[in-house]
Symmetry: C2
Subunit: 391 residues, 2 copies
């Protein structure tokens, strides 16, 4: 285990009816907020009306900015920053999924930064300064409701960059899993693939002596696998949604990676796909992850064997390589079971721009090849091989 620092500062209000408390929960933080959201689904579900009534009851003024799309865009972030400055907004309240939350985080950073907000992402500038962010979650997936990260797409440059700054870790998040019951099946599946990947990125490590966090990662993965099938088959199963909602937040609040060197190659490789092809992040991860696993498993058979046995339920045999193959095959079968594609071709991605993406993912495109991932650092040729394998 490596040295670590750990804290979970985000107040999580979890369960039935908690969204009705949002105004009261926010009162200590702000007198005026930006209510930031995506399309019409929160109006249809009644959540918009509940949240705005709760804000009014608490005497909190608000302005609104909707229109966040999946792979949230820099142009809307810039619009939000201007709006917040003009209106004297003190906190950004995202009501929605990871895209609304990430867009809110970027706005929160941008309001407190003198230069153009994209510089923070492009040059990885950590200012430690942002308006406070709060969230009401409607899609369990990105884990952004408890994380310090956000991902924004510069749609003109076709660049999708993540950025991490503790200043944007939400001060509070509300999760009422009842709102998940109306999600379409493809969003359910994409979300599950995303939260599982947040655990994989932490679980697959070269760090030794990690019993406690191995157990935490494996346990949350098992709970997600079990309940993902339930909510996919019956989106009305609110008990199963509670598990997915809690699991998805734990997946990305940093606990599961403490004392471990984390990887993050799959996320890095996927961001290139969705930046260019605008596919859902989770869909890209479901394709890339098994291919990444097959490529890097020889670097540490112990942890991949453990994954096969403890997460995917493979009976341990004397042939650990066979066990690992079976574990990865079961993961692919699980993805298929919940309707996810397992090839790039099925996502409409051909071989035309793979080299360009591989070079962007590793920095080689910008003359500074830092590579991708820590479990095994992948150079652009390695990433290209994984993309090709995934076709």
């Amino acid at each position: 285990m490596e040295n670590f620092h750990f804290q979970i500062p985000t107040h999580l209000y979890f369960g039935k009816g908690e969204e009705r408390g949002i105004g009261a929960y926010l009162r200590p933080y702000a007198k005026k907020v930006l209510l930031h959201y995506g399309g019409g689904s929160i109006k249809k579900s009644g959540l918009y009306a509940i949240v705005t009534a709760s804000l009014r009851d608490a005497g909190i003024a608000f302005v609104t900015l909707g229109g966040v799309v999946p792979n949230p865009r820099l142009s809307l972030v810039r619009e939000g920053i201007a709006l917040c400055r003009r209106e004297g907004v003190e906190l950004i309240l995202a009501v929605g999924g990871g895209s609304a939350i990430d867009s809110a985080k970027a706005i929160a950073l941008g309001v407190c930064y003198e230069g153009d907000v994209w510089a923070l992402f492009n040059d990885d500038i950590v200012t430690g300064k942002a308006l406070p962010v709060a969230t009401v979650l409607t899609i369990p997936a990105a884990g952004s409701e408890t994380s310090a990260s956000c991902v924004v797409t510069n749609e003109e440059a076709q660049l999708k960059y993540g950025h991490t700054d503790n200043a944007v870790r939400p001060v509070l998040s509300v999760i009422n899993p009842a709102y998940f019951c109306t999600l379409p099946k493809n969003q359910i599946a994409n979300g599950v693939a995303d939260m599982m990947s947040h655990i994989f990125e932490r679980y697959f490590t070269q760090t030794k002596h990690t019993d406690v966090t191995d157990e935490l990662c494996e346990g949350v993965l098992r709970a997600i696998l079990k309940n993902a099938v339930k909510v996919y088959d019956n989106p009305q199963d609110v008990d199963a949604w509670y598990e997915i909602g809690f699991g998805g937040s734990l997946a990305h609040n940093d606990l599961l990676g403490r004392g471990r060197e984390e990887d993050w190659a799959c996320h890095g490789m996927e961001h290139e796909l969705s930046a260019i092809y605008d596919i859902p992040h989770g869909a890209g991860l479901a394709v890339l992850t098994p291919n990444w696993m097959e490529t890097v498993a020889p670097e540490n058979q112990a942890i991949f064997g453990q994954f096969a046995h403890n997460v995917m339920g493979v009976q341990p045999s004397r042939d650990v390589e066979a066990d690992i193959r079976e574990g990865i095959a079961r993961l692919r079968a699980f993805y298929r079971r919940i309707g996810l594609a397992t090839t790039l071709t099925a996502l409409g991605i051909d071989g035309a721009r793979l080299e360009e993406m591989a070079k962007k993912a590793t920095g080689a495109a910008f003359g500074d090849e830092y590579g991708q991932g820590h479990f095994k650092t992948l150079l652009w040729q390695d990433v290209l091989a994984i993309y090709r394998k995934a076709l």
Copy 2:
């Protein structure tokens, strides 16, 4: 799963050499601290010198108060309160195990309370006001380094009461597991029994649909079981100590019980034992827990079967009652394996005062029988039966 609120505000600094940073970590919180500790072990280990040098380097003034004993006493707490008021202390820094930390928490509460500090414990008065508390942990056991609770013994009245107030949850805690390597074997075993009990109190619940937290509880328990034997057999195994140290903190930082109704009968029953007989808390828990399990298992065989299968490694059979018996037998065998007693007689406790303790534990002694525990609420006759069974 029940509704819940969740946050882990305590900054945990974990790993090699972290104690050298204590002065820098404390600087944002206080200019003058009370350094509170037990006997001479922290001077012998060199920790006292390191901590005081770090405070001096950071320009933090300090006064000291040693002499905390296991089952920390009200008299020393009162002495600490007077000292802090006289010296204008702004934060209590406990360097030691759960006793030093709990004593520090009681002092922190008492300084900010006009009346006598015992009233807070006796009448369960939650003021929400305390000096900030920080810790450098030397014994992994009580989990007090991340919890909001403390337990103090009124030695004159032979009463040992716990008290919970978020105001005493430490603002930061430092854990360098290297300091655990010099612990005597009985303290190792008592600590392990205590941290396991913190998980049991949360794990055994009547709440349904608790997959995620079931997994977390079972996983941390397995990691503790595995590594407890290692550190017991070889206290120099610092890698195993990392797991025990991290596991012990997770056991009591509230995560593992979120959305579950918790029990706490074993803790309540044990406090009566150690209040009168001054035995180590963990030793009492190791005796009572299997007897409590045997008594209440019929109330929910599903969770006790799960415990047998997933924690104690019992192969599932068609006879769940037999599986449960075997699971509890293995738990007793584990306690014996690390040198713990499994009868009250072996702890020097006879039948003379069992009824008195059973009535105190349930409130019956004070004319207000609230009972003990939530998994199954035990009245004084039930508690007496468990005490007798444990003789």
